[in-house]
């Protein structure tokens, strides 16, 4: 009897610890999977960026090679493309989101626009490139129509569709709906009472937008624009399908480094460029989450 009484507390004490260990076992498949297909690839990129061409030894050569003129230029064009498409997307998407937010809250218009935005924001990639080839390609619908009816040829000063202006236009197509999705909640956080309060105090519409709504919405707007920037910066498929010659932007440079493995020393340079992309996106996303925190203070 005494033995049992002595043993019992021990067993009780031992069980939670055992349970804790057994509980951890339940997460092993997930962590193992994520390690193999996410952590290891990330490490391969990070380590490869600092590894010599023979696969041995630490070197800064790859990172230093990023300073090459053509890579700097590609990074610059990538940043410009992302910034411009984010700017257009943020402005037009912001206007669209505001237009929707003034409509009836549970109305048809709002539901249709948000549903379509959800779909169109995902509409990147090869199909979007072909859609624009059909629209303003050399024999595209709009190109031909304009030439037949107004005599205006849109490519008079060169075929800009396959260059930066074309990419900005096409990227804007998926940036606007993304802006609607991410910015609409902030607009919904604006209380009509704030406007009424402004008017009761004698404020004009202009004052309401510059003194009340503008400053309140600014962090959310800026944050959304940053998300759009990261989205465009990471995009690859549309540009890859559209541009088959030359590599104007960084993702296409990485494609070049990956596919021309015959050229010695390109593989780890590709990893250095990839690491550069991660750094840029990580900085942007960090700023985004900081702004998100600020936004939620007022607009929840």
């Amino acid at each position: 009897m005494a033995e049992i009484a002595e043993a019992a507390p021990q067993r009780v004490a031992a069980r939670p610890r055992l349970r804790g260990a057994a509980s951890l076992l339940g997460t092993v498949p997930f962590f193992a999977y994520v390690t193999i297909f996410l952590i290891i690839p990330t490490l391969v990129v990070a380590i490869g960026a600092f590894t010599g061409d023979g696969g041995h030894g630490f070197t800064l050569d790859n990172v230093r090679a990023l300073a090459d003129e053509y890579i700097i230029a590609a990074f610059g064009r990538s940043v410009l493309l992302s910034a411009l498409s984010a700017l257009f997307g943020a402005v037009f998407g912001g206007l669209l989101a505001y237009a929707v937010s003034t409509a009836k809250p549970g109305g048809l218009l709002r539901r249709v626009v948000t549903a379509l935005s959800g779909v169109l924001a995902q509409f990147g990639g090869v199909t979007l490139a072909f859609a624009f080839l059909a629209t303003i390609g050399l024999s595209g619908f709009v190109t031909v129509w304009l030439q037949d009816h107004t005599g205006f040829y849109i490519f008079e000063n060169g075929v800009w569709l396959f260059e930066l202006p074309g990419l900005v236009l096409i990227y804007t197509y998926f940036q606007i709906p993304l802006m609607v999705i991410v910015f609409l909640p902030a607009l919904d956080g604006i209380r009509p009472q704030w406007r009424e309060a402004t008017e009761n105090l004698g404020g004009t519409t202009w004052q309401y937008w510059t003194r009340v709504a503008g400053p309140l919405l600014a962090p959310a707007f800026l944050g959304s624009a940053l998300l759009l920037f990261a989205n465009a910066f990471s995009a690859y498929a549309t540009a890859a399908a559209l541009v088959s010659q030359g590599s104007p932007i960084i993702p296409l440079q990485i494609r070049g480094a990956l596919t021309s493995e015959v050229v010695l020393g390109q593989a780890n340079l590709g990893k250095a460029m990839a690491l550069g992309m991660v750094v840029v996106v990580a900085i942007v996303m960090t700023l985004y989450s900081l702004l998100q925190k600020r936004t939620s203070k007022w607009l929840g």
Partner: protein, 263 residues
């Protein structure tokens, strides 16, 4: 005051329609152009509807379509098997790990797909070695790619119910952990699971980067390849793929809105 509000509502309505019409034209134009472009050569659409003839004329396209459908189904399955039990388990038994799991699931948002490809190349050398170079092996990478979206959907579903109370009640009545997950929690987050699966299918059907750079085939790779030989056909297939994704994601938003209504 009432007059001011009425006047403002009128102005807002005018503004709303101007914005909607202008942007509507911008968004509809490429779709209309695709319809026009793909009907220039007669027989394109009838060829697309006739599977056996399509298979004969464009074998690579048929192969890509089948590959993508299989990849989508398998990715959704793998994602659910991996994510749902883990998410429930972490909520019930290991709340301290929740931040870590969330961080890992959202990490792919910060790592562009093109970067992931660079790092995946050596991992896939091993995959090839063990299970061969079949295009279905892309499912492993796709599951990572869809993690952020699927996690958010499932996490939102779990947050909407009281998992702990449900589990305790079931446990109190003598249910095992498997029963708790399969027969108690899962039926309660059905719409969230459905959202995650739909999103996964839509994302996989649109994936190009990883498949193209790892030299595997799928629908998008096939469309891109087709674009080099037959522009009309490639636009027709693009439009079809797009409509398919449209239907999927609209279904998804319907599922999402019914859930919200219930709550």
């Amino acid at each position: 005051m009432a007059g001011v509000i009425a006047r403002r509502a009128g102005k807002q309505r005018a503004f709303r329609w101007v914005v909607l019409i202008l942007l509507g034209v911008f968004f509809a134009l490429p779709m209309a152009a695709m319809v026009e472009f793909s009907t220039r050569t007669p027989g394109t659409w009838s060829l697309l509807a006739d599977w056996s003839r399509l298979n004969e004329t464009y074998p690579a396209l048929a192969e890509g379509i089948i590959a993508s459908l299989e990849q989508a189904a398998l990715t959704a399955l793998l994602m659910l098997v991996l994510l749902v039990p883990t998410a429930i388990w972490v909520r019930l038994r290991l709340p301290r790990l929740r931040r870590l799991v969330e961080f890992l699931c959202l990490l792919p948002l910060t790592i562009p797909a093109i970067v992931l490809v660079v790092g995946l190349a050596p991992v896939y050398a091993w995959v090839n070695y063990f299970v061969g170079g079949n295009s279905l092996t892309l499912v492993f990478a796709y599951t990572i790619l869809v993690l952020p979206y699927a996690y958010r959907a499932i996490d939102a579903g779990l947050s909407a119910i009281d998992v702990n109370t449900l589990a305790e009640a079931a446990r109190g009545l003598g249910a095992g952990w498997f029963t708790v997950m399969w027969r108690v929690v899962l039926p309660n987050i059905r719409s969230a699971v459905l959202s995650a699966a739909f999103l996964t299918v839509a994302l996989v059907l649109g994936e190009f980067t990883i498949a193209s750079l790892l030299h595997r085939t799928n629908l998008q790779v096939a469309i891109e390849f087709l674009g080099k030989s037959s522009a009309t056909m490639s636009v027709a297939v693009s439009l079809t793929a797009l409509l398919l994704a449209f239907v999927l994601l609209l279904l998804l938003s319907l599922v999402g809105s019914t859930r919200r209504v219930k709550k």
